[in-house]
């Protein structure tokens, strides 16, 4: 025993670092290392390290899904950088422009350099683990180039027939699984109403026919209502199938945010209490709907982009409300300190704020209007798209 223990101490296992590092809570990090017979996931908190091992012979697969964080980071970073550059050329706005550039330009450049983002999961017979370090598509590709030969050396290569066999076996192990849906019906169920994905689906069908595979099982789409979506849940799959959802709270939240933004935009033309108060009311309603949406979207088939925009919208509304409250309080403190005690007066002051009072007010209104449009318009479009595509 002692010999074995001493051996363990003196001979460090040779690991090779795989691309990608995830930063956790500013000080921690998570990395993936390729060992001789296993992958090692190291989660470091600075002074301690936690290890998870995935033996090459036990790894069932990797799934990487593209996320929209890259596009949003690049878009917002680019927008605010451009705004900063424009402000830098104005007479008094250079300080605000420099502020925007300082925060937005690194975000835009970072996303431009590192490319599209993704979410990667690794699956074994007993667990499905997220791999935060492989959160960029290029890191995932590079890591796979190093890992795939090792896994294939340990396990061999999986043929499509074997995969389909495992698929059918997993289905048979779960009683109550709905019968396979005929191809035409499947298409009608999903894209038949609008035909948005007809071309893409045809391409898949052609590929499927080429390699002689049966219809893919999609529990969230093909399972009748009330039945558990067992077709997709294989061995060790504890999570329930995603359910179809029309995303009503999301729709209402984006509508409220858009209306609030439109009312905010009227301040460029005239300053009045009524539209300001209405915008405030709609902004508050949007926050409530966003929170409802965030609570209810769990375990649904909602696309990742809508989920992300919901989080972004909720954060945007809260920050906007906080900024407007602070500017309202400041405005009252400067102009009418006696009225500061009443909350109604603060709300009125917020509603009466004119963008032409100063550069600060103009910048706040610009951010409110463009930010609101940047969140609400794509959100509305995506919810419409989601409903049209998935309507049974």
């Amino acid at each position: 025993m002692n010999g074995l223990l001493r051996e363990g101490m003196k001979q460090p296992v040779p690991y090779k670092k795989l691309p990608g590092t995830a930063t956790l809570w500013l000080v921690g990090s998570q990395r993936l290392w390729a060992g001789p017979d296993h992958l090692l996931m190291v989660t470091s908190s600075g002074y301690t390290e936690a290890y998870k091992r995935f033996a090459y012979r036990d790894i069932q697969g990797f799934v990487s899904r593209r996320t929209c964080h890259w596009a949003l980071g690049l878009g917002l970073g680019g927008f605010f950088s451009a705004l900063g550059v424009l402000l830098c050329f104005t007479e008094d706005g250079w300080s605000l422009g420099a502020f925007f550039l300082f925060f937005a330009l690194p975000v835009a450049l970072w996303n431009l350099v590192f490319g599209p983002t993704c979410r990667t999961t690794i699956r074994t017979a007993v667990q499905t683990e997220k791999v935060p370090s492989l959160s960029r598509a290029r890191h995932f590709r590079k890591a796979m180039r190093q890992v795939l030969p090792r896994i294939q050396e340990a396990q061999g290569v999986l043929t499509p027939e074997e995969y389909e066999g495992a698929f059918r076996e997993a289905k048979e192990q779960r009683p109550g699984t709905p019968p396979p849906v005929p191809l035409e019906q499947g298409i009608e169920n999903t894209e038949g109403a609008q035909g948005l994905f007809a071309g893409r689906r045809t391409l898949y069908d052609d590929m499927r026919k080429d390699i002689g595979l049966s219809l893919p099982q999609r529990a969230s789409l093909d399972a009748p209502p009330g039945l558990p979506g067992a077709a997709l849940a294989g061995r060790g799959q504890a999570r329930k199938a995603a359910r179809f959802w029309s995303a009503s709270p999301h729709f209402r939240a984006f509508v409220c945010l858009f209306a609030s933004t439109a009312l905010d935009a009227t301040r460029f033309s005239f300053t009045s209490s009524a539209p300001g108060l209405a915008a405030l009311f709609l902004g508050s309603a949007a926050i409530i709907f966003f929170i409802l949406g965030l609570v209810k979207q769990y375990n649904t088939d909602l696309p990742g982009m809508i989920r992300f925009l919901t989080w972004a919208g909720a954060a945007f509304c809260l920050i906007k409300l906080a900024i407007l409250y602070i500017t309202g309080v400041l405005s009252l403190a400067i102009n009418a300190p006696d009225e500061l005690a009443a909350n109604a007066d603060i709300a009125l002051a917020m509603a009466r704020l004119s963008p032409y009072d100063g550069h600060g007010g103009m910048a706040v209104l610009l951010v409110c209007v463009f930010g609101g449009l940047a969140v609400s318009l794509p959100g509305l479009a995506l919810v419409f798209y989601h409903r049209a595509r998935r309507r049974p």
Partner: protein, 185 residues
């Protein structure tokens, strides 16, 4: 079965090991790789019963036939008790002992990076200089105390220990110079 992590839709066979494609459920772009382990059915070990005289029995299951001795304590083990680790055969008790002691690298779940702690302790006085009186001796003590302890699984070099103790020695030298100067005045 591989599933999309967004909508939990099963990834169909024609999307596996073929590069990036759209998920049939949510439409997000996914890349899926599957390996033969997904089609493998794990079978547990079934130890043979001890039928003949002269055959050794398992230490933990006397009625079962021993197939291998423990590489650490030498006890005879049946197929059920045999735990293979890095090519060595161990009994459950030895594995547990080694795991608890944290000295079998293959089953270790956590380690403390003493070298990083030492280096941080040596650098900390840059922010709060008066604590150098405490941290410098503590750094040198920690270096000696933890020098032989295993490093992170992914590190081989002990340069942090050396750098930390070097900085601490410089700090101690600085303290000594200041003390002597003050005493001379």
């Amino acid at each position: 079965m591989l599933t999309c992590d967004n909508c939990n839709t099963a990834v169909p066979g024609y999307l596996v090991n073929t590069g990036e494609a759209r998920c049939p459920g949510c439409g997000d772009k996914i890349t899926a790789y599957a390996f033969p382990a997904i089609a493998r059915v794990e079978q547990g070990q079934h130890p043979e019963s001890l039928m003949e005289l002269g055959h050794a029995g398992c230490f933990y299951h006397p009625g079962k036939k021993a197939v291998v001795p423990c590489g650490s304590c030498g006890r005879f083990l049946c197929a059920l008790c045999d735990l293979e680790l890095d090519g060595k055969h161990l009994c459950p008790a030895c594995l547990e002992t080694g795991k608890d002691a944290g000295k079998i690298a293959s089953v270790e779940k956590e380690r403390v990076n003493h070298d990083s702690l030492v280096l941080s302790m040596a650098i900390l006085p840059v922010l709060i200089w008066p604590i150098v009186v405490i941290t410098a001796p503590l750094t040198i003590y920690s270096t000696f105390r933890h020098w032989k302890k295993p490093l992170s699984l992914t590190r081989k070099s002990r340069w942090r220990f050396i750098a930390g103790s070097g900085i601490a020695l410089l700090e101690l030298a600085g303290i000594a110079v200041i003390a002597i100067t003050l005493a001379a005045q």
